[in-house]
Every structure is written in structure tokens, then in C-alpha cells.
Symmetry: C2
Subunit: 173 residues, 2 copies
DNA sequence: TAACGCGGAGAACGCTCGTTCTCTAGCGAT
DNA sequence: ATCGCTAGAGAACGAGCGTTCTCCGCGTTA
């Protein structure tokens, strides 16, 4: 759909940076360079736009980690990918965790998307690890690193997580 | 201050359950059973109330984990404490992570409280573990478990985290 | 008893924002 | 050239909410 990409790009940047509720439809409209009428044609309500934002980010984010880790062929490289992500200047944690904290208590739709996203991530790590229990443990390390990096403002948790992951991989099952 | 406890209790329950921005001052007033005038005497603005909410929760939460783990004298029991917390019916993740996601992008005060809280938690785990690197790794497991339990709606991550923690503890430095 | 002041109830104000409506300029078709 | 349709700009509307203001009852004091 024409201009849908512009709207989603603008919405993603704004929602992620400031939080969904701190961004008005008119700001998305201005950033996307479309008219309010067109914006509401593409997304009939702000809720729809939020779902669109999260859905698009879900796909892009998971595809990016998966591509990185699958070409390297090693679960541990997931933590290198995280370190790069954490170092991005506008990094502000996991969009799904943030949205869940903001809206999960009142919007089942948002809670469901966050659940699906985390479930998919967990499954990806399980696949890469080749073992469910180990995969789940590595997932916890990755999630913990995301939280600590977001709030602490340092990419260091990615390296701590990687070292912990290496230790877990070396542990006899 | 008279009635301050009632207000903070009401605010904590509502803010935590629904998110700060989804709760109006009048709802806090009603739940606390005070007048709007009194509410604004105690907390001159909603921002002040939010800070008060997070500060009170920070102290109570950390004191609770610390008490539990220090009497047991074993870092691993932190994960048992987490499992109990996750099983509470109104568990909805870490209040600081949620508030950071909601307001951290626009409120430096909220971001700073979240940072202090996570730093204090990390320090507590370091102390309990008796080793900084190991403590930081266990912190990541705990944080990851909180996130996964909140979004996934299951207390299982606490047990996965505990098993991973046990493995890390058994690993030669 | 009469004056006074504190505190509560809740109306009112002003602003933000999601959503809709209006007006108009441009453009393609007859 | 004129008609009609589309789309954009932005005004307008209505709800929600943070904050303040008004009014009133009640308890205290001289």
C-alpha cells in the first residue's frame, strides 16, 4: 500500500523513542509526510497503527537476529548481535517489553503480540542451541542483557551474557 | 504523614496493574479514600506521586529479596523468591522496567530511578554471590526470568534461571 | 451562641489528543 | 471550458484528565 512504509517507519521511530502514549497521531502524520486523512485510511485508529508498528518490528527484528546467527552458525553470535544493537545511539530496550509495560495491562492485543514475539525469539534460540533447556537458559541471559543494557545505558551486559552463555554451553548436560 | 501510606498503597496497586498513564489522579484519590485536595497536599503533582510510588516500591522490593536471601544465606534462593513472586495473581513484571518503557524516554527522573533500582539489585546479587562477574551473570538470569515470566505469564522461567545459575556456580572460575 | 477556619466533595478550567468534518485546489474526462 | 472527483490542509469536535477553585458542613473557641 502506497505510503504505508513511510507511516510505519515514522511511527516506529517515534513510538520506540518516546513510548506509544507520548506520541500523537499528528506527530506521526508530520514525520511520515502524509495527510491525516491518508493516515486514517491506512490505519483506521491509533490502536491499529500500534499493532502495525509492533507487527512490522517483530518481523524485522527476528529476521535480523536469525540472519546474523544462522550465517555464523553459532548461538553465541547472538550476543555479538545484541552488543551491536545495544551500542546504537537510539537503543532503548525491547520495543515489546516497553509496549507491554505501557499497554499490556489494558490491551490484550498488545500483550498477545509481545507474547508471540518472545515465544518466537525463545524458539529461535532453542533451534540455534539445539537443546530446549539450554536454549531457554540462553534466552534468559539475552533478555536480561536487553533489560540491563536498556536501563543501565551500557552495552556491557551483552558481553557478560556471552561469557555466561559460553560457560553454560561448556557445562555437561 | 497521615494518609500518605494509603495514597501510596493505592497508587502502587493501580499504577502497577494498569500502567501509570492509564490511571487518573481521581482514581488514585478514590482508591485511597482521600480528597483531591489532600492528595495534592501530599503529592503536588502526578509526577511527584509517580516518583513516590517508584521510590516506595524500590525500597520494599529490595528489602524483601535481601531479607529472603540473607536469611537463607544462598544466592540461589533468590530464584525461589522470584518463583513465588511470579506466581502472584497480579504479577505483571518489574515495575521499574514497565515504568521505564512507558516514561523513560521522556522523563529523566523515572529513568534515573529505574537505573538506581537495577544497580542496587545488581549490587545485592554481587554481594550474595561473593563475586562480581558471577553476580552480574546471575543478575542477567534473574532479569531475563522476570521479563519472560511477565510476558509469558508463567513462573517457569524462575526454575530455568535457577538451574542455569546452579550450573554457573559449579563452573570453575 | 456566634464567628472562624479546616477539610471534603466535586464542579470547573484548560490543555492535549484521537477522530471527523469542511473547504478548497488541482486534475482528468467530456 | 466545465463538471466532478480526489486528496491535502487544517479547523473543529468531544472526551479524558491534571490541576485549581468554589462552596458548604462541621468542629472548635471566646
Amino acid at each position: 500500500m502506497i505510503q504505508e512504509a513511510e507511516v510505519l517507519t515514522a511511527a516506529e521511530a517515534l513510538f520506540y523513542e518516546r513510548g506509544v502514549q507520548q506520541v500523537g497521531m499528528d506527530q506521526v502524520r508530520a514525520a511520515a509526510g502524509v495527510s491525516l486523512k491518508r493516515l486514517y485510511q491506512l490505519f483506521p485508529s491509533k490502536d491499529d497503527l500500534v499493532i502495525g508498528y509492533l507487527t512490522a518490528r517483530d518481523e524485522r527484528w527476528l529476521a535480523s537476529v536469525a540472519a546474523h546467527a544462522r550465517t555464523a552458525g553459532d548461538v553465541l553470535t547472538v550476543f555479538d548481535w545484541l552488543a551491536e544493537w545495544f551500542a546504537e545511539p537510539d537503543f532503548r530496550g525491547c520495543a515489546f517489553v516497553n509496549s507491554f509495560g505501557e499497554l499490556g495491562g489494558t490491551s490484550e492485543a498488545v500483550a498477545a503480540i509481545a507474547r508471540r514475539h518472545k515465544e518466537a525469539f525463545r524458539q529461535l534460540i532453542r533451534d540455534l542451541a539445539g537443546d530446549d533447556e539450554l536454549g531457554d537458559q540462553l534466552t534468559l541471559l539475552a533478555e536480561g542483557a536487553i533489560t540491563m543494557a536498556a536501563i543501565g545505558g551500557s552495552p556491557e551486559p551483552a558481553h557478560q551474557a556471552k561469557r555466561a552463555a559460553r560457560a553454560l554451553l561448556a557445562t555437561p548436560a
